[in-house]
């Protein structure tokens, strides 16, 4: 008996064009055709009109204003963006059995769907049309035999494009890609490679795997494969996110510890609630802050036992904050990130703490139920009470200046 060969892999990468800025231009037609950026402190997203002036994500707003004085700067509406993203990802799930989603992009595993869809390029065209009709937004799609090639193919036809790299063309396509395009090669690695006169993925192939490993450690072996167009990372539904981040900049830079710790408690509460909803418990807690003068600090520590309980996570987060917030400069941004998750809700402690943990889990389950019905802001705890009256509220809780999303 012969086992049939598995169908050739086919991955479709869907990237939402200028995501936040495109939504803002759609919500307000007066912004169409104008350079628009969304962000607070730095650019989170910019329209293609803004990109023509050299603006790009991550650039400080002060620099953006210098390059393009007429730019329209918006602080953004995270809840709205999330709704649009969910709509787009729902369309992706309608065509692909497995979809891995990020903030503004998705990988759709179309392997084995040829009999269902026929021509996969035509299926991608149909998906683009469906997304446009449902949301008014354009997406760029790349189709390839693996995730990396699908994404790189899309990059050649932005915005609103569709490109395909077949397995047969993969070698030639990859050979001419600049080294910066190879996933894992950041600015520093690219500088190292260029100093060695290695400018393209094809030229990178000259290095044996041992040399790459000596240069870049564990990443070296991956680069050896990737510069040859090979990527073995599969599309995963990623039911467990890599991290849950809740971060915001203050409406006005502040050094008021009551406000800062109140905000941290609120951010921890939001992040823990998301973890409980997903049935996961974080092991690692990170706190990130940025001062008004641009200097930043970040540190992370692991809990003794993974926990999704607000007070347990908050205790560690406050410790991290107090250790980092040492300068006499007002804070601009504060964020908390939970990561290193284990599956299973609640909290597991030692034998004698079990009863207390059980009671606490029941309490937070009850809190979550009330918040699901009446909104997160209906229950505000401890230090976060100090935010009442300082921040606007809606049914999602306090209206943060630059909220971030689960990744």
């Amino acid at each position: 008996m012969t086992i049939p060969a598995p169908p050739p892999a086919a991955v479709l990468h869907v990237d939402i064009d200028a995501f936040f800025a495109a939504i803002e231009q759609q919500r307000d037609p007066r912004l169409q055709g104008k350079p628009v950026i969304v962000g607070a402190g730095v650019i989170a997203s910019c329209s293609y009109e803004a990109r023509a002036f050299g603006l790009k994500a991550g650039m400080p707003l002060s620099e953006a204003r210098l390059l393009c004085p007429q730019v329209v700067i918006l602080e953004g509406h995270a809840q709205v963006y999330r709704c649009f993203a969910e709509e787009i990802f729902a369309r992706c799930r309608a065509v692909a059995p497995a979809v891995e989603t990020y903030l503004d992009e998705a990988y759709c595993d179309l392997s084995g769907t040829e009999r269902l869809h026929g021509d996969l390029l035509e299926a991608a065209r149909g998906l683009k049309r469906a997304i446009r009709a449902a949301t008014g937004l354009t997406v760029t799609c790349g189709l390839g035999p693996n995730r990396m090639l699908a994404k790189l193919a899309g990059k050649t036809v932005k915005p609103d494009g569709l490109a395909c790299v077949s397995a047969a063309d993969a070698d030639a396509f990859m050979r001419h890609q600049p080294v910066e395009r190879v996933p894992g090669v950041g600015r520093a690695h690219a500088r190292t490679l260029r100093s060695m006169n290695l400018r393209t993925a094809g030229e990178l192939r000259a290095l044996p795997v041992a040399a790459l490993a000596r240069l870049f450690g564990a990443l070296g072996a991956q680069l050896y494969e990737r510069c040859r167009g090979r990527d073995t990372v599969v599309v995963s539904e990623r039911e467990i996110p890599l991290s849950i981040s809740r971060e915001t900049s203050f409406h006005r830079d502040t050094a008021d510890r009551t406000e800062i710790e109140g905000m941290l408690e609120y951010l921890v509460g939001r992040a823990c609630r998301t973890a409980r909803e997903l049935g996961i418990r974080p092991r690692t807690v990170a706190v990130r802050l940025r001062y008004g003068d641009g200097e930043g600090a970040e540190s992370a520590r692991s809990l003794g036992v993974a926990s999704d309980a607000d007070p347990v996570v908050l205790l560690l987060a406050l410790e991290l904050l107090r250790r980092q917030f040492t300068r006499r400069v007002a804070l601009h941004t504060l964020g908390v990130t939970l990561s290193n998750f284990v599956r299973g809700g609640g909290e597991q402690g030692d034998l004698f703490a079990e009863r207390e943990a059980g009671r606490r889990a029941a309490l937070y389950r009850a809190f979550d139920g009330v918040r699901a019905q009446f909104g997160h802001g209906v229950l505000v705890s401890g230090r976060a009470l100090h935010l009442k009256g300082r921040l606007e509220e809606d049914e999602h809780g306090f209206v943060l200046r630059t909220p971030s999303l689960t990744k």
């Binding site: 307000d28 809840q79 709205v80």
Partner: protein
């Protein structure tokens, strides 16, 4: 461009056709604002019952955000975007 929060219940005239709701006009402070264009629509599914959200331009060219809370069937006027 800046957004002014309004956050008030509002009376809306709307068409319900083919399972799709489209606002036609809303009345605020006794004045009817006829909707010239629905710029964008999206659904917020985080609340227990979905909120159907719309960005609309009225006849005077102002851009408002309104939403229908499907649970209570209440229309809500969120904000207006003003130039300057």
């Amino acid at each position: 461009m800046r957004t002014e929060a309004l956050d008030e219940a509002v009376a809306v005239r709307a068409e319900f056709q083919g399972g799709v709701v489209t606002p036609v006009a809303f009345t605020r402070r006794g004045r009817e604002h006829r909707i010239k264009r629905v710029n964008a629509r999206w659904v917020d599914r985080v609340p227990r019952h979905p909120h159907f959200c719309f960005s609309v331009t009225d006849e005077s060219g102002d851009v408002y955000q309104i939403q229908l809370h499907a649970g209570e069937m209440v229309w809500w006027l969120d904000s207006v975007a003003v130039e300057g």
